[in-house]
């Protein structure tokens, strides 16, 4: 009997350890003789360093060492460029990557200048107060538009400009589309910075074992294998001498894949230098200053439509604030550029962006990775066009969706994976209709009127989006039948709560027909599996899941072949079920997988030429292109125009991520994404002053949504299989938070029609909404 696990809401294998406090997180690593590190970070956003005096810190009892850039010698060098710029014609890219410790100049508040190693974190922090830095403050660049002004202070003087990149992409002739249009809508849109705020801060622990000549590094990274490879290169070690473990990681959301953070470069070096284990755990305050952040963008966008609401073209100029460095290349603005097109037919598109250096923390992908900015601009343009045309917002979307006959669809611009933006499959209209039906769109106006009579203001927002997911280059997996009969799976990417221990187990369990609990998955340990890239771009399930599937298939073939030999039957007669192999029609001729595994690794006899010992296989999966997930979000809000407070009353998601491995996990991902999207829309904004100081660097002032701020998400799935991978999977990790801001803006406007509000910015705090309402009132 072949059981089906893929598609089932199987409870998670990893939960027991997490629920009982037995799961290992990096800060839990405690080794004999371990020393603790604290970093001295810049108070200035932009300043020259004229001198650093660490003598008092060194003299403090309990301090083992203090290091500045000078002490690093040849080890001091700029970090790697993670993602080179994509092959877009005429592209400009100025590369400036972060350094381990600032030497002559600091570029943002929080940039590390020195590190203290001490017997405890307490003493290390005491010693930070002993270090004197002589700064010569420089003018700071905070606003990306001002950064490009001719007289702006320049961060990286070698370029003579704060321009980090300039990219133009498009297709068709927008000017002609505009000339033919019945209506052109043009607006400026702002989408400001936020923080990922994984509940676990970053941490790195390292131990050098001089006898084994081996470095072990525990790191809260989303990409342990590239970290190992890079560390080996930097430290002059073989990759086999470096063992990186990303154990349980308390949320990633993007910033934990940035590499190399200065701390990741320095902690292993210090451990080797001192010959003692060393640990650094970021505290929450540091997290606001030292962990990469979400993007801020300013878009000047325009849409040209016909009288009946058909899109003729879109033009967008935008500035992307990349922060102090551009180590992660152009992934984020390219995502914005590509995702703007949404599920729509856009006959002409001109999109041009400038990435700009500013004296703020570096921007790298954070859940959504710039997609929400594109979605916000496009959805808002459609809303404004619909309003001008007197058309229902849902209707204008209906009229512009790509039809099912369009797939595969090539947008003729380059996506973040360097391939043309290519939609593999999709089915957009039914998702919209399901969302409208679920939220009761048709009867909503009636209810809105009734509520209005009772003095209450409710509004609805419905928006669409697509998400490019599951990109290459590749992931791999090794599947092994353990002599105990359990199945071991090892894959290279790290896990941060996505349920990989279960989802991958389900894929393998289905192929091998064993219980899911019998499949033991290891992720994020370079000793267990040494090839792979990392967890990003909603690709874990798609790419590593497909590799697990391929490896399990290969093991299955080995099992059948060997069982045929051992049970003396032709392969076609062998049945694999319930952890056993049997000869069809002769149930007494049976072996457990454990017995078979033991026989596959004999102590005597010979392993025949052309065969391998063990029941084990390794496989890789590298998709040519990603797969395109899509969906519709609908939201009902109630706004109190007197207090400018907004309450989300209902939230509906219709999501299409192809075939589902574990619907429970998928729903959890979407629900969690929506919560983050709500934070993004209404609560979370990093506020910088004109001198580049972050003004809300704590959980007191940077507001994450709580259980009272996030509604129950009502969810419906549609499954349009991905044609590019064997299981038909599309990614889901980021979907929940991508269209939330756009839906929120539409719903708030809809709740207050008499104000004629145009919400062109996200996040929208009550304080800001209050002033928008006051302005509307005054006019």
């Amino acid at each position: 009997m072949n059981r089906s696990y893929v598609g089932q809401s199987v409870p998670r294998n990893e939960d027991r350890r997490l629920l009982t406090g037995q799961a290992l997180f990096v800060d839990d690593v405690q080794l004999e003789g371990m020393l603790h590190v604290a970093f001295l970070r810049s108070d200035h956003a932009h300043a020259l360093i004229r001198g650093v005096d660490v003598s008092a810190a060194l003299a403090r009892p309990g301090v083992a060492a203090v290091y500045t850039a000078e002490d690093l010698g040849d080890y001091w060098r700029p970090g790697p460029l993670l993602v080179p710029p994509p092959p877009v014609e005429g592209l400009t890219f100025n590369e400036a990557t972060q350094v381990p410790l600032a030497k002559e100049k600091v570029f943002h508040v929080g940039e590390p200048i020195a590190l203290v190693v001490a017997e405890s974190r307490y003493v290390a922090e005491d010693a930070l107060a002993d270090i004197l830095v002589d700064f010569e403050p420089l003018g700071a660049v905070v606003d990306p538009e001002a950064a490009l002004a001719p007289d702006a202070p320049i961060l990286h003087t070698q370029f003579g400009t704060n321009l980090a990149a300039h990219v133009v992409q498009g297709h068709g002739d927008y000017e002609q589309a505009k000339a033919e249009a019945d209506l052109v809508i043009s607006r400026r849109f702002l989408y400001d910075r936020g923080a990922a705020c994984a509940l676990e801060n970053r941490a790195v622990a390292a131990r050098w074992d001089p006898k084994a000549e081996e470095l072990t590094v525990w790191d809260t990274t989303q990409a342990p294998i590239p970290i190992r490879n890079g560390l080996a290169r930097m430290l002059g070690l073989l990759e086999s001498q470096v063992h990186v473990v990303a154990p349980f990681v308390g949320g990633g959301f993007g910033p934990k894949i940035m590499m190399f953070y200065p701390e990741e470069v320095l902690i292993p070096w210090v451990a080797m230098k001192l010959g003692q284990p060393v640990k650094w755990t970021e505290d929450r305050q540091e997290n606001f200053y030292a962990t990469t952040q979400e993007r801020g963008q300013v878009h000047d966008a325009e849409i040209a439509v016909t009288q009946d609401g058909r899109i003729l073209g879109v033009r967008d100029f935008f500035l992307h604030d990349t922060g102090a460095y551009d180590s992660y290349g152009l992934t984020v603005p390219i995502n914005s550029q590509c995702t703007l097109l949404g599920p729509y037919s856009v006959p002409s598109y001109h999109s041009e962006f400038k990435a700009v250096f500013t004296n703020k923390i570096t921007v790298t992908p954070v859940r959504g990775a710039g997609r929400q900015h594109g979605v916000f601009v496009m959805e808002r343009l459609l809303d404004l066009a619909a309003r001008a045309l007197g058309m229902d917002p849902a209707e204008i979307r209906r009229r512009n969706y790509l039809g099912n006959e369009a797939f595969p669809y090539n947008h003729q611009i380059i996506f973040q994976d360097f391939s043309p933006l290519f939609y593999d499959s999709g089915d957009y209209l039914p998702a919209l209709e399901t969302a409208l039906e679920t939220i009761g769109y048709d009867s909503f106006r009636e209810e809105q009127r009734r509520m209005r009579e009772a003095g209450r203001h409710i509004g609805v927002g419905v928006v669409s989006y697509i998400e490019g997911t599951g990109i290459g280059p590749y992931e791999g997996a090794r599947v092994t039948i353990d002599p105990s009969g359990r199945v071991r799976v090892a894959t290279g990417l790290g896990t941060q709560g996505q349920g990989h221990y279960t989802a991958f187990a389900q894929v393998v369990a289905e192929v091998l027909d064993v219980d899911v609990e019998q499949v033991h998955v290891t992720t994020g340990d370079t000793r267990e599996f040494g090839w792979g890239t990392g967890t990003f771009a909603s690709r874990g399930a798609v790419v590593a899941g497909s590799a697990c599937h391929a490896a399990a298939q290969a093991v299955r073939e080995k099992i059948l072949a060997m069982a045929g030999r051992v049970l003396e039957a032709v392969e076609e007669q062998i049945e694999l079920s319930d952890g056993h192999v049997r000869v069809r029609g002769a149930p007494e001729r049976s072996l457990s997988l454990g017995e078979l595994a033991r026989m596959a690794n004999p102590l005597r006899g010979a392993v025949k030429p052309g065969t391998e010992p063990g029941l084990e296989a390794t496989a890789y999966f590298g998709p040519d292109r990603g797969s395109t997930a899509s969906g519709v979000h609908a939201m009902i809000v109630e706004v109190d125009p007197e207090t400018a407070m907004v309450e989300i009353k209902r939230y509906v998601v219709v999501h299409d991520c192809g075939r589902l491995i574990n619907p429970m996990i998928v729903e959890g991902q979407v629900q969690g994404g929506v919560a983050q999207g709500i934070g993004n829309a209404f609560y979370e904004k990093l506020i910088f002053d004109d001198s580049g100081q972050l003004l809300n660097a704590s959980f007191m002032d940077y507001l994450l949504p709580t259980a009272l701020d996030v509604p129950r998400v009502e969810m419906a799935h549609r499954e349009t299989p991905a044609p590019m991978n064997p299981l038909g999977l599309k990614g889901v990790g980021e979907a929940g938070c991508i269209p939330t801001g756009a839906a929120f803006a539409q719903a708030v406007e809809d709740a207050l029609p008499e104000y004629g509000l145009e919400i062109l910015e996200i996040p929208l705090s009550p304080n800001r909404l209050f002033s928008l309402l006051e302005d509307a009132h005054d006019h």
């Binding site: 409870p11 629920l19 405690q30 983050q676």
Partner: protein, 163 residues
């Protein structure tokens, strides 16, 4: 005195005597002195709730208490919840079944918050549950499945449910 202070405390039923610096936070004491690393530290300023433990049966933030202040008190951490090696507390079981955790970092704090919450209010409404956990931040789940888990646990833990 900034010099070490004697401390005697019961944690999960076991007694511990230690000499600690007065400034040592209780969260650090549990994690690094007693190796009870299930109590997690997320903000150290009393907002995220990850470090919540029970002190004499009440939920408190262990990052806002000095270890010396636990002298003579009874503490429970997440490691003390389950009865035995295999048995999970009904609340833990409910979290697993309802998928009330993803990365699991905030989870011990939620569990410890909910123990006295359900003791004081065994049949909470959804609104009460949400208010009860509003001092705990979760970045992964969006809370819905946590609410679901609490409801499930409340049903199972209700006095009439026990035979």
């Amino acid at each position: 005195m900034t010099s070490p202070v004697e401390l005697s405390v019961r944690v999960n039923g076991a007694s511990h005597q230690r000499s600690v610096e007065p400034r040592l936070l209780l969260s650090d004491f549990l994690r690094h002195e007693l190796n009870l690393t299930g109590t997690h530290v997320g903000c150290e300023h009393g907002v995220c709730g990850a470090c919540t433990i029970l002190m004499d049966g009440e939920a408190v933030r262990s990052c806002l208490i000095f270890a010396v202040q636990a002298d003579g008190h009874e503490l429970t951490t997440v490691e003390g919840l389950a009865a035995g090696d295999d048995a999970l507390h009904p609340l833990q079981t409910a979290f697993r079944e309802a998928h009330g955790l993803q990365c699991g970092f905030c989870t011990p704090g939620f569990l410890m918050t909910l123990i006295p919450f359900l003791r004081d209010n065994p049949t909470p409404s959804d609104r009460e549950i949400r208010e009860g956990i509003s001092g705990n931040l979760c970045r992964c789940t969006g809370y819905q499945n946590i609410v679901q888990a609490v409801r499930l646990a409340a049903e199972r833990m209700a006095p009439e449910a026990t035979p």
